[in-house]
Amino acid sequence: MKPTGPLLVATGLRKTYGPTPALDGADFSIRPGEVVAVMGPSGSGKSTLLHCLAGIVTPDAGTIVYDGRELSAMSDSRRSALRRGEFGFVFQFGQLVPELTCLENVALPLRLNGTGRRAAERAALARLEQLEVDDVRNKRPGEISGGQGQRVAVARALATEPRVVFADEPTGALDSLNGERVMHLLTEASRSTGAAVVLVTHEARVAAYSDREVVVRDGRSRDLERVA
């Protein structure tokens, strides 16, 4: 990997939900194409960190700079557009629209971005093939297995060829075999498109697919590279 400047940098993030701080001065950075695992016990604030980094949540304090632009200074619609165009998302479960077929689900982000239906579905089919789930393209999410569902979700996250994929416990609801398969395909596919991946997980074997690890504990982050 050629050394490049960081793509997404966060410093001193603070975010409080109710009385308890979820983030208490967390830092993070990721370079283009890098896979960074965010680990930590549950309730440590790792999901909140992901939400902040993706511009879903605005932190109470701290800065997030994506590609030279200050994220917290953007309007909601600008951030939404960023998420549509340059970010991709995989969550633990319940993220596919149950009424749409798998193909339509994968095409959805492209269509939100203004791509025509036919072109979007063509691109979506290619993604499904890459994730080895093109056989379920005309089924609805309720009719396929959990592992297939997560692979469809990965295909959807990669559909717009995003520069960053945010994955929040993508294998959390899967058994280890299916989890390994999803992780394998996720990292392979994102490496092939050059996407950076922010991978939130509490499982070391999942985190082992990353290039680097950041630990979040009590709302504070530790970059293990710097400790060592």
Binding site: Y17, S47, T48, H51, A54, I56, V57, S77, S80, A81, L82, R83, R84, G85, F87, G88, F89, F91, Q92, G94, Q95, V97, P98, E99, L100, E104, L108, P109, R111, L112, R117, R140, R156, A157, D168
Partner: protein, 783 residues
């Protein structure tokens, strides 16, 4: 313990458990329970009202008949027992602002005159007994002007027995001036002179209206109730699944669900009783049918009320069990029975067609005084309206599966509808039925109203009030007292009599109108006029024979009399100099014919015997001008008739029924809207996680909002279309039944569909803030 006892015990236990579950589900379940209660309550109240209205109407009619006094027959007895009970009575009803006041002048014509119902002491001359409402009005500031018109001392009140409604304004005044034989004075020996009345009840058309109104309001409420007990169905199913996990068997879950439904129904019964009691007290104050109803008349028949109390909970349990039929509640979750088979059309069509078949035989019976078979009317109307709920799911499914591609919001909505068109259709059913019945009613009313509205030809620019005085009151008096009264800009006074061609014979009679030149110009086109002129009107509508009878030079007799008694007849020869005049509608639109004469052309007796009348142009800058004029007229003579001219006289019952109908339909729609909102929010909450995810990957909130809108708008549009069609058909058939030409009241259709659409828009608008709240990223946090 016998098996039966065990059974009863487990029933009781499961029902109680269900009831407890229904009330312990937090705020949301309370809202649901409240809506169910209100919905069922409205239905129950409406049912109770329906059972009570016939009683109320007949009680009212009985009292109306009991005080009947004016008729075509005069009591002529001058000797014997009957004569001791003779009474002179004259109608002096009046209008004050927009209140109608029933008034009678009484004068005893024997030692034991009969007392009107509700009156305990015969009013002495200069005194009056008044209804409580009139007393209140007279004593209030608002009644200030009226006190001038009723210059009698209040000596007592008229009891309920003498009134048709609690807010009726009525009085009986004593007089020593009226004489038998005067215009408007009758001699009677008893009130309620017609004996017991066995009439044919309500006018069949009115009866039809009442029946249809009740059915049309009740059916949407019924549909609403059927939907309401399915509120929160999915959540309940999950709850039942949890109970299955801890060991409840299938029949237990059914009983528990029944218990939950019962709570809503019982709550609804209480709410209904409350609504009814409240409505009953309101009935005394609210004017329906132009009058209010005594609360004590509004007595539901108790057997019917008991039937309602049993039927409503039973029905709600039945609906719940029906809804559970397609669902298998397993310990680990809820299994909906396999993919529903495609909906079939044929049996769905049977309902509305059956309804039409029931109604059709009665087409055209309205004006033959035929009676409508109430059962058939109710059955047919209900079948047609319920047919909407049967057809709608099929139509929604058929249309939605054919809907093509569009934007993302459209795609999201259409796919959701395709997967679950039944829920969507159920949500809209209530609105559709309500709109269909409202359209039908609207049509029926507009159609029938045409029948009951009297178009008048009055030219309101020339006069707004017309006054008739009793014979014997002179034109001069009218001129002095009325024409110069406050509030009058201009008054045209004429007097009217008739001339006969022969003494003692009523053949060859022509009308005679007497007045000054300017007054006569108001009733005919005169070539020229000066005092002493006489005119014959040629060409007036309805006076084709005037030219034949009124030949100049012919001898006439004023007030020719009938039979032998010809002493009053005054002879007069129509002068040869009589000029021809052209017709001109008078301010009331009537073209006068006959002979017109200035007073000096006639013998004094003829002028004195003619009855004066005046057309008054009001000075609208004076407040209460009409009532000032009415006061002046009453001061002139209590028996003076004052008529306010209007462009058209709408029969008042219809105006109030229409308002009531509109309010009722709006209430039903609002209720349905509230339930739509609850269902909508429930669905949104279930999709909270998904919505948050969609927002996370950059879906615009506008897209989500639009998809919610489409998702409601598509079934609602279909529902309104179907509702309009069914409503128009039903309205058309009903109009044909009362033999009124079928005209479509498009503005009514538009109004009702617009109201329906407005409800949906409001529901969508109201669900947007929660939608936005739910799509906040908090939804992504794991619970």
């Amino acid at each position: 313990m016998t098996p039966a006892r065990t059974n009863a015990r487990s029933w009781a236990r499961d029902l109680t458990l269900g009831a407890r579950l229904a009330v312990t589900g937090g705020r949301e379940s309370w809202v649901r329970l409240l809506l169910t209660g209100v919905g069922v309550g409205l239905g129950v109240a409406l049912l109770l009202l329906t059972t009570a209205i016939p009683n109320a109407l007949s009680a009212r009619d009985d009292r109306e008949r009991a005080r009947g006094d004016l008729g075509y027959t005069q009591a002529t007895e001058t000797h014997g027992d009957a004569a001791t009970r003779a009474l002179l009575i004259a109608e002096i009803s009046t209008t004050y602002r927009d209140h109608d006041i029933r008034g009678r002048l009484l004068r005893s014509d024997g030692p034991r005159p009969p007392l009107p119902p509700g009156v305990s002491d015969f009013p002495a001359p200069g005194e009056m007994v008044v209804s409580p409402s009139l007393k209140g009005l007279l004593e209030s500031d608002e009644g200030e002007l009226l006190r001038d018109r009723l210059p009698y001392r209040i000596s007592g009140t008229v009891g309920d027995a003498g009134l048709t409604s609690p807010n009726e304004l009525a009085y009986y005044a004593g007089s020593d001036e009226i004489e038998a034989g005067q215009n408007g004075v009758q001699r009677i020996t008893a009130f309620h002179p017609y004996g017991p009345y066995h009439g044919d009840g309500l006018d069949p058309v009115l009866l039809l209206l009442v029946v249809v109104v009740v059915v049309a309001l009740l059916t949407p409420v019924g549909v609403f109730v059927a939907t309401a007990v399915r509120f929160g169905g999915e959540r309940r199913d999950r709850r039942l699944a949890a109970l299955r996990l801890v060991g409840a068997d299938r029949s237990m879950t059914r009983r528990i669900a029944a218990g939950e439904a019962l709570v809503g129904a019982v709550l609804g019964l209480f709410a209904g009783a409350l609504f009814f009691a409240w409505g009953r007290t309101l009935a005394g104050r609210v004017e329906v049918y132009g009058q209010s109803i005594f609360p004590h008349d509004l007595d539901p028949s108790w057997t019917l009320a008991a039937l309602v109390a049993l039927a409503v909970p039973a029905a709600s349990v039945a609906v719940t069990l029906m809804a559970l039929r397609g669902v298998v509640v397993e310990p680990l979750g809820v299994v909906r029975s396999t993919r529903p088979t495609r909906r079939r059309l044929w049996w769905r069509l049977l309902l509305p067609l059956g309804g039409l078949a029931l109604l059709y035989p009665m087409v055209g019976q309205g004006h033959d005084n035929g009676e409508f078979n109430e059962e058939l009317v109710i059955g047919g109307t209900v079948l047609l309206l319920v047919g909407v709920t049967a057809l709608l799911p099929w139509i929604v499914e058929a249309v939605v599966t054919r809907l093509g591609s569009g934007g993302v919001s459209w795609q999201l909505a259409v796919r959701r509808l395709q997967l679950n068109s039944g829920t969507a259709a159920r949500m809209v059913n209530g609105v559709a039925v309500a709109v269909a019945s409202a359209i039908a009613l609207q049509m029926l009313f507009t159609g029938v109203e045409g029948d009951y509205t009297v178009e008048s030809d009055s030219d309101l620019t020339r006069a707004q009030v017309q006054i008739y005085v009793r014979q014997g009151v002179s034109v001069d008096q009218v001129d002095r007292q009325v024409a110069r009264s406050e509030g009058v800009r201009r008054a045209t006074v004429v007097s009217v009599s008739s001339l006969g061609g022969r003494r003692g014979n009523s053949e060859d009679v022509v009308d005679l109108t007497i007045g000054g030149c300017s007054a006569l110009r108001e009733v005919a086109r005169l070539p020229s006029c000066s005092d002493g002129d006489v005119f014959v009107v040629h060409g007036a509508e309805n006076y084709a024979d005037t030219p034949r009878i009124a030949r100049p030079g012919r001898m006439f007799y004023a007030d020719p009399g009938y039979g032998e008694d010809d002493s009053a007849a005054v002879p007069w020869r129509l002068p040869l100099t009589a000029k021809k005049a052209g017709p001109r509608p008078d301010p009331t639109g009537w073209e006068n014919g006959g002979i017109l004469a200035t007073p000096s052309a006639l013998p004094r007796e003829v002028v004195a015997d003619a009855r004066a009348q005046a057309w008054v142009q009001l000075d609208t800058s004076v407040p209460d001008a009409v009532d000032l004029v009415r006061n002046s007229a009453a001061r002139l003579d209590p028996l003076t008739t004052t008529i306010t001219l209007t462009e058209s006289t709408e029969v008042e019952e219809f105006a109030s029924i229409r308002t009531g109908l509109f309010v009722g339909a709006a209430c039903v729609l609002a209720l349905i809207g509230a339930s739509l909102l609850v269902t909508q929010l429930e669905q949104l909450r279930e999709r909270r996680k998904l919505l948050s995810t969609l927002v996370a990957f950059g879906t615009r909130r506008r897209t989500l909002g639009l998809s919610v809108l489409w998702q409601t708008a598509v079934p609602v549009a279909l529902g309104l279309l179907l509702a309009s069609a069914v409503g128009l058909v039903l309205g058309g058939v009903l109009l044909r039944m009362v033999a009124v030409p079928v005209t479509v009241d498009w503005s009514g259709v538009l109004t009702m569909t617009a109201v329906g659409a407005g409800v949906v828009l409001a529901v969508t608008a109201l669900s947007i803030p929660p939608l936005l709240r739910m799509t906040r990223p908090d939804g992504l946090r794991t619970e």
